[in-house]
Assembly symmetry: C2
């Protein structure tokens, strides 16, 4: 029961078309805050779940069965394409990813392999096909990847970082190695994202989660050309969301790099951010994930504030400013989704929607 | 050999008066990157060093003996005033501060004590007096404290935090406890900062290091009134620098809270930040501390970029965007200080300085 693209509020909003209400999905919506997810995680590791297509599909659909979300996002991890590139990592308990041989010099970068996503990451493509089949056209499915900078930072730091000293060190002190690394990651990401589209992803999001550690000048010089290369190289038949955190000083440059929609975190007022980047792109965000801990009145107040700032202008996709936190109360997530739909739909009926043709 | 206040470029810049060159000091300039500091740290714990006035004074002066810095900052820690408030903590090896009984509810907040800094933190006041004596009026001495939000976040989270879930939780879910906590911290800080001025501090800096995790709206509602209360309550005879990181969306509101100078991190272009906050306050910053790892040409390029953005306008104090990192090469620090002095003085001689009377 596939609907035409223009029947999905999420896809319409990505294209800055009017919608009956503001569509909403949540970063990391398939995750530890749900008991159904925790039940599976007791039996399998995170990577086992990512690599088993049936299980990844099942987890992708868990929040869809429970909440009236306007899009699904395939259950996976931004680090998945690194393994076929030749970079090994594991998820240490409670510590996030750990890379045992971080990249530090040209010879480490030279060793990185070109990936063939269909052959080397078949589980993800299969998971996308299963989810598309099981969704029966109810809502669209989002594929995703990390952005070149964020992936490079993991590969160089060997995990999470506070100061990104090693990443910036390579960037500043070994420009040829940095450029080759970013080129190789960009090529891998173009292949990886296009394979997801071929498998059935109906929209894409690129997560540049840690790029907010850079000066605007460094972003422009060392990162923007590669992010742009990836977004230029991706199949234009599906819309693309370009997301980063702590990026309020980078927004104009992120737009230059690409994306039909720019995703912003809660540190910036959504109205101000949209004015700055311009209404010719959409905007996604930007509830502070901590607000979901409640109380409900606070969630309501913040939802209204964000929707009022968006002014019902076509092109706003409601989301959190970063991934949903592990202990978030499930009933608050349900309440959030309903609030966004109800309040935005009420606003649409009482106001004339601002046409987004500026 | 005390000079009048108007002979110190640092104090002149705090008051937006013209100076022959741009003054520079570095956050955490007395620290692990110096071998003299590491030699002492082998024998004493960090807190032992803070609490011994002779040693704190000695450490304060280590970078002054080595570099042509325009201000000293007393060696201490923002957590020092918490102990007499009744909050115990320790520095766990490699982990930063750990609080064994974090504050979680009203009764925890009610237990907090009013402090008498001269009696309860005599070592700091004594260290300030020793440094003032030993400096012989060569350069001015800065005293400092954390800001109410940053200190509250440590007390509630029990250490560093990634998401500030517990801090925001108290803020959102227990407003009376939050307000009482912020009131008590504010009162303690006013007393603490004024005691430092009485002991001889010639300028003050307030570090709101973690406030960048908030939405602009939350900053305005839950934080600004208390930061303002502290800055309003502090002796106006010395200039005050108000610093935060990841705060580019909060700058206008930080100015509202107070400060003769607003300190910014590297995530924002200094020129843009100054235009936004207005030239009626000074600006401090904003070299990315990672740039100090070099190469020297990069340091030079970034120093020029920042000084060019400041346009030689009176009121710019050069600094890093956050504390100097532990492994920073000492020779690069020396080079930085010289570069800032030379380039800014050359610029002053070749251009007419912009009068800052806008």
């Amino acid at each position: 029961m596939e609907k035409p693209e223009n029947q999905y509020p999420f896809l319409l909003a990505c294209r800055k078309q009017p919608t009956p209400y503001t569509p909403i999905w949540l970063m990391r919506q398939a995750g530890r805050y749900m008991k159904e997810y925790r039940a599976l995680r007791k039996k399998y590791s995170f990577l086992e779940m990512c690599k088993n297509p049936e299980m990844a599909a099942q987890v992708t659909l868990q929040p869809i069965d429970k909440f009236k979300l306007d899009a699904a996002i395939i259950f996976s991890d931004i680090l998945i394409p690194l393994e076929p590139m030749g970079v090994e990592f594991e998820f240490a308990k409670g510590e996030g990813p750990v890379f045992h041989r971080p990249l530090r010099e040209m010879k480490d970068v030279e060793r990185l392999k070109i990936i063939e996503p269909e052959e080397e990451i078949p589980f993800l493509m299969q998971a996308i096909r299963i989810v598309r089949r099981d969704l029966e056209g109810k809502i669209p499915l989002i594929g995703f990847s990390g952005a070149p900078f964020t992936l490079a930072s993991y590969m160089i730091e060997g995990g999470h970082s506070r100061d990104y000293t090693l990443t910036k060190g390579l960037m500043y002190q070994n420009r040829p190695a940095w450029d080759l690394l970013m080129e190789k990651i960009s090529e891998a990401l173009i292949r990886y994202l296009n394979a997801q589209v071929r498998a059935g992803a109906q929209a894409l999001q690129i997560f540049d989660s840690w790029v907010g550690c850079l000066t605007p000048g460094d972003y422009e010089e060392y990162v923007l050309p590669y992010s742009k290369r990836v977004m230029d190289g991706v199949n234009k038949s599906v819309p693309l969301i370009h997301f980063a955190t702590s990026s309020s000083t980078l927004l104009e440059r992120m737009k230059q790099a690409g994306g039909d929609v720019i995703g912003v975190d809660w540190r910036v007022d959504l109205g101000e951010a949209w004015t700055r980047i311009g209404y010719d792109v959409g905007i996604q965000g930007n509830l502070d994930p901590v607000v979901l801990f409640g109380p409900v009145d606070l969630i309501k107040k913040e939802v209204k504030r964000i929707l009022d700032q968006a002014k019902g202008r076509p092109g706003h996709i409601f989301n959190l400013g970063h991934g949903i936190l592990p202990n978030t109360p499930v009933e608050h997530v349900a309440a959030l989704v309903d609030m966004v739909h109800e309040y935005s739909s009420r606003k649409r009926n009482s106001n004339t929607q601002i046409p987004n043709n500026k």
